[in-house]
């Protein structure tokens, strides 16, 4: 499919701004990366014993977590902006200043404060290094005791979020424009690809659950459906523009579920609240039933958030674990089993990406539908 026409559109201004913004951070880090290569090879020669042990759990969890830099290939990383609100005000610098140090061994001095990065968290550095050469104080349970500044950094997930917003805007403004240009005619191109899916959301999700008042909630349902679906798909792309696992981040899913929660609470009518506070049972059952119903208001969105987060994270961990098996057994032969199996899981993940978007949307519609239902 020829997609070039997508970008010849109003949104191209947005795209240019975003690209320039990223490009600003592109230039320096590549230079840093080249310097780094020599350093890391020296380090690898110095301690080959430590490098050999491959920890599958650590590897998988590291890859699904958010990060301050964006891995390109090999030793190349894109440094993303770090923005910290410290005791002495706002401090901003490029994350490539840490030189991919993630063990608090390198201190960065900016804005009169000293910072170290350990396991993708930024701490105020200690005065002196401990016995492992780390500028942090660690207690017996390996928890860092140093204080942390408030971290407002543009991480990998934030960049992917902006990218997906641009992709979704580009696609949907194009489609919406198609309906204006070809009014009353048959759809064309992107429009004819998306129209059945939009109709699916309307006819199979909104109408059965929301009844005749469905039109008010269509914008929200369509937005949440396509946002989750597109982000699930972008998360499945293993190389640069993707690979950020946005919908597998609990913060993102909690925000999405909170919006559904607010929609339910704001649209709940007197019958809905009546069912919760004065259910149709003998009065002495209120002691049990009313607390249960009140907890129920909150568990629904919490389950919604954890379901999406856990499904997407589990899928990513599964693929990483299968690929990781090659390194656990340290043999090429394992790849004949694990690569086809990982590909199979990838195929299933494409299905799960759609199903989870569908489940989130239909349950949101169901909960809103319960809140706006008229008494019969």
């Amino acid at each position: 499919m020829d997609c070039s026409h997508v970008f010849e559109f109003k949104v191209n201004r947005l795209i240019v701004v975003f690209t320039l913004f990223l490009a600003f951070f592109f230039v320096t880090p590549v230079l840093y990366a080249q310097e780094d290569t020599s350093k890391t090879t020296e380090a690898a020669h110095a301690e080959p014993e430590a490098e050999k042990k491959f920890n599958l759990g650590k590897f998988a969890l590291h890859h699904i977590a958010d990060s301050h830099s964006w891995h390109v290939i090999g030793d190349y990383y894109i440094g993303l902006p770090v923005m910290l609100y410290t005791q002495s005000g706002l401090v901003a610098f490029n994350s490539s200043d840490f030189h991919q140090d993630d063990e608090a061994e390198l201190v960065v001095e900016k804005g009169g404060e000293r910072f170290v990065k350990m396991h993708e968290k930024i701490y105020y550095a200690s005065e002196k290094a401990n016995e492992h050469g780390q500028y942090v104080e660690v207690d017996e349970a390996h928890h860092v005791k140093n204080k942390r500044p408030l971290d407002f950094s543009m991480t990998k997930n934030v960049c992917t979020l902006l990218l997906s917003i641009i992709v979704i805007l580009a696609v949907f403004l194009k489609v919406a424009n198609g309906y204006k240009v070809r009014k009353g005619k048959s759809p064309k191109g992107l429009q004819s690809w998306l129209e059945p899916i939009i109709l699916f959301v309307r006819d199979d999700i909104a109408k059965p659950n929301l009844g005749h008042k469905y039109e008010r909630f269509m914008p929200y349902l369509l937005t949440v459906f396509f946002f989750i679906w597109f982000n699930n798909m972008i998360g499945l792309v293993p190389f640069l523009p993707g690979g950020a696992n946005l919908t597998g981040n609990i913060a993102v899913t909690v925000v999405l579920a909170s919006i559904t929660f607010i929609m339910v609470v704001a649209n709940g009518n007197k019958y809905y609240w009546g069912h919760i506070f004065t259910p149709d049972v003998p009065w002495w059952l209120y002691i049990v039933l009313v607390p249960v119903e009140i907890i129920g208001i909150f568990t629904k969105p919490i389950a919604l958030a954890i379901r999406l987060f856990a499904n997407i994270s589990a899928g990513h961990i599964l693929v990483l674990a299968l690929i990781g098996l090659i390194f656990v057994f340290n043999s090429y032969l394992v790849s004949f089993v694990s690569v086809p199996f990982a590909l199979f899981i990838y195929g299933i993940e494409l299905l799960v990406a759609f199903i989870q978007a569908f489940i989130f949307t239909i349950l949101s519609a169901l909960f809103i539908g319960m809140a706006i239902e008229e008494h019969h």
Partner: protein, 67 residues
């Protein structure tokens, strides 16, 4: 050498439970579709929602096991 934790056993038990649950949902949905092929699309939607609820419980267990 066996390494690991009790949490892994818990995750395994949750997987067994969810497997049984989803198996039951799938078999009932198939029976339903075989009896009434014209209701297939409605049954599929209801099946997916029920399966999502069962799966969510298993995934809660996995999250707890990981943490």
């Amino acid at each position: 050498m066996i390494t690991g934790s009790i949490a892994a056993i818990g995750a395994g038990l949750a997987a067994i439970g969810a497997g049984m649950g989803i198996g039951k949902i799938g078999s009932s949905a198939m029976e339903g579709i075989a009896r009434q092929p014209e209701a297939a699309s409605k049954i599929q939607t209801a099946m997916l929602i029920a399966a999502a609820f069962v799966e969510a419980v298993a995934l809660f267990a996995v999250v707890v096991a990981l943490v």
